[in-house]
């Protein structure tokens, strides 16, 4: 443990940017706003680079106690930050990709009226995300966790004048509350049993405990509850429903928050809690099953979507499922590896999709795209790299991380061929829907010509709002360089980002964080030696599995090529012949409708009839109103005594006096 007093500066920088733009941005010029946003975000990135340059595994982890927060007996929580190998990877991904997306946003959002608001929210998001990844205890992490939820809500509902955007923001926030509930309970359990929320202290307390293989116990409960939180934030079954709707936000937001960084917070949290999960095999199993199912489930939905951003949204859910699958089989470093490469290529996919949407005047329906290759060559080139990366073609980044996950799913102690098989099927589907998107968007003939001229009044209020600058209605065109620059950088990273994983270097780098699993009595070095030996033995199998997954990716490419380029009339016929199944997939398996019937409607109806009409109106309001009514009724009747007539007062006085005298006389006689 090495103290580093400057760690807290990294999150504070974007907060300062958010504050300046938020308070003064309304009266500033757009140039000034951009400068502030980029400088503060960029300097956070620069500081992250400096830290990375000075990072040495020998002196890691670094920490920084900024201030006391809660002191209650022996229970202490401080505002403290923490940097180890895992947070360093997250830090670089968040600041790096975040900075690129900030640059891109300058071009993308320039003509929007709320430009300063947008930039302020983006910086605010960076602050919370950095707090999340740099936290030294679960409570500070929870601040970031809730904060990114807030930023996500604000940015999804950025165009809040549209009901759909406002509703999507609310949906994201409410669904996340369910997950946060689980997370909070897990924190309470930790406080109760370990008396601390500090990572080091909790993990030290957990370390000597033996794995709960026989029956579910405390650690399993904590693990499952943490997973509930992760499922909410990272859009896993059953809480994934908010992420597709979150595409209502501007495209840079989808890239930054809903693809590259925030949605991976759940994976980070599970990986951070690896010590707990490794001692709770059942929780681990649940993570793996949820991840695997989500990967497959979301991928199948992605096949039938026609909105380019919706395809990418389901793809994100599916890829997050991969990461959880990796964590669930105990291969935390593989999950984090995929998290990193995914941040590159999925951020790129979203930004390129944004560039496409930008270039054709706000249209998001892939059926109205096509042939864009010749109009926007740079977007096409970068998107191609990203597509190949996510589909898992060597030597692109996605290949290495996905292959690592599939291998670990097959070979690890917690793994099984079932996970691997579903993973490969998902890889095939992923490849198929991504190349479907690619072919539909960039190949064939441009199908949006007639739409483009009058698009903005009729087509899509959202799109028109998204790109009011393109009301002039000429053909598709390439985006400005301020947007293409980040695309090129991310394309480069999507190309080479996976190479750092060759030879298990990435895994070795992260090894100190994911310490010796409990079932190994051996020391860390012995464990690593054992791991390499095991890998050496399985090299043959690994190569075979790798070939199979590459074959799956190629198969997906070929199928998409056949269906969407060579014989474009075929998909409609297949859809017709599948009938109900196709409709179910196209309608996302009616999960939203199911949730509406199962949870939303009973809640709304119950709240309306019982809580609103019953308790609130019938109980609380009625108590207040009825006592007021009673007072008025009594006063209405009594006020006639105050007639203002002097002689009637006198009469009352006389009558009263007579009564008193009569009483006294009567008493006196007795």
């Amino acid at each position: 443990m090495t103290p580093n007093p400057y760690l807290w500066v990294i999150p504070i920088l974007p907060l300062a940017g958010a504050a300046i733009n938020g308070f003064f941005g309304r009266r500033s010029s757009k140039k000034a706003i951009s400068t502030v946003a980029l400088v503060f975000c960029g300097s956070a990135f620069a500081m992250a680079l400096i830290l990375a340059a000075g990072f040495s595994s020998a002196s890691a982890p670094y920490y920084c106690n900024l201030a006391h927060w809660i002191r209650s007996g022996s229970f202490q929580v401080d505002f403290s930050f923490y940097l180890d190998q895992l947070s360093l990877v997250m830090l670089l991904v968040v600041t790096g990709v975040g900075f690129l997306i900030h640059i891109y946003s300058v071009g993308y959002m320039w003509d929007d009226d709320g430009y300063y608001r947008f930039m302020s929210y983006m910086n605010l998001f960076m602050f919370f995300m950095l707090t999340l990844v740099l936290a030294k205890n679960y409570l500070v992490m929870f601040i970031g966790w809730e904060g990114v939820g807030l930023a996500s809500y604000l940015l999804i509902g950025y165009w809040f004048t549209q009901d759909s955007a406002a509703a999507a923001g609310k949906k994201a926030f409410i669904v996340n509350r369910i997950g946060d509930f689980g997370f909070l309970i897990a924190l309470f359990l930790m406080i109760k049993h370990f008396g601390s929320l500090d990572f080091t202290q909790v993990f030290t307390a957990v370390q000597p405990l033996s794995p709960e293989t026989a029956g579910a116990g405390l650690l399993t409960a904590i693990g499952l509850l943490l997973m509930v939180g992760a499922a909410g934030k990272s859009a896993q079954i059953p809480l994934y429903v908010w992420l597709p709707d979150a595409m209502e936000g501007p495209t840079p937001v989808s890239a930054l928050i809903h693809a590259a960084t925030m949605v991976t917070a759940g994976v980070y949290m599970v990986a951070r809690s690896s010590v707990i999960f490794e001692r709770a095999p059942m929780a681990l199993m649940a993570v793996a099953i949820i991840g695997t199912l989500t990967a497959l489930f979301a991928a199948t939905i992605g096949i039938a979507q026609t909105d380019i951003k919706k395809v990418l949204a389901y793809s994100t859910i599916s890829q997050l499922g991969y990461m959880f699958m990796a964590c669930g089989v105990g291969a935390f470093s593989a999950g984090i590896f995929h998290l990193m490469t995914h941040a590159f290529f999925k951020g790129l996919l979203f930004l390129a999709a944004g560039s496409v949407i930008h270039g054709i005047g706000g249209e998001q329906d892939m059926r109205k795209m096509g042939g864009l290759r010749q109009y926007m060559p740079w977007t096409f080139l970068t998107m191609t790299i990203a597509t190949f990366a996510i589909a898992g073609f060597p030597p692109f980044a996605g290949f290495f991380s996905k292959d690592e996950i599939l291998w670990k799913a097959y070979s690890s102690e917690y793994g099984s061929w079932v996970f691997w098989l579903i993973g490969v099927i998902t890889a095939f589907i992923t490849s198929f829907y991504m190349f479907r998107l690619w072919f539909l968007t960039f190949f064939g003939d441009y199908r949006g010509g007639e739409v483009n001229d009058g698009a903005h009044q009729s087509a899509n209020a959202h799109a028109a709002h998204d790109h009011s600058d393109h009301g002039h209605g000429h053909g598709p065109h390439e985006s400005p360089w301020v947007m293409l620059g980040p695309l090129v950088v991310l394309a480069f990273l999507s190309l080479v980002g996976g190479w750092i994983g060759i030879g298990g270097r990435f895994e070795h780098f992260l090894a100190p964080v994911f310490q010796v699993p409990a079932f190994h009595e051996a020391s860390a070095t012995e464990y690593l030696a054992h791991g390499t030996a095991g890998e050496a033995a399985g090299t043959g199998t690994e190569t075979l599995l790798m070939l199979i997954s590459v074959a799956a990716a190629i198969l997906g490419l070929l199928l998409a090529w056949t269906l969407y380029l060579r014989r474009p009339q075929l998909p409609a016929r297949i859809a017709d012949s599948l009938g109900a199944l196709y409709r179910a997939v196209a309608n996302k398996y009616y999960i939203d409708e199911l949730y509406a019937v199962l949870f939303v409607k009973p809640l709304v109806d119950g709240s309306t009839t019982i809580l609103w009409h019953g308790v609130d109106q019938g109980g609380i309001d009625a108590a207040v109103n009825n006592s007021a009514d009673a007072a008025r009724y009594v006063s209405d009747n009594v006020r006639h005594m105050q007639s203002g007539n002097l002689r009637s007062y006198a009469g009352w006085v006389a009558a009263g006096a007579a009564a008193v005298i009569a009483y006294m006389v009567w008493m006196g006689i007795r």
Binding site: R639, H640, S643, G644, N645, L646, R647, G651, A654
Partner: protein, 100 residues
């Protein structure tokens, strides 16, 4: 010597006349005079008792009442004049601006 009961009877009659006048009359001056009548009815019973029991305190009390009545008359008449100036009437039933 006149018996005590005569005095008390007269005192009661005077007081009752005062009360009746107070309740029945509308002219504010008459009402004022009725109050004086009541006070004097009470005064009469005070002095009657004082004479009967040879106790001076009853007579002293009467002087107090007379002093207070004089002060009251001064204030009351001032109020009556002021009421007349603003309302141009001495009918108490018309002085009812605060009535509901």
């Amino acid at each position: 010597m006149v018996p005590l009961s005569y005095y008390l009877l007269l005192s009661g009659i005077l007081f009752a006349c005062g009360v009746l006048g107070f309740l029945i009359k509308r002219n504010i001056i008459t009402i004022f005079m009725s109050i004086e009548l009541m006070l004097n009815g009470v005064n009469l019973s005070f002095v009657a008792f004082a004479a009967r029991w040879h106790a001076l305190s009853g007579q002293v009390f009467v002087f107090f009442v007379m002093v207070v009545a004089a002060a009251e008359a001064a204030v009351g008449l001032a109020i009556i004049i002021s009421v007349y100036r603003t309302r141009e009437t001495l009918n108490v039933d018309r002085v009812n601006l605060l009535k509901l």
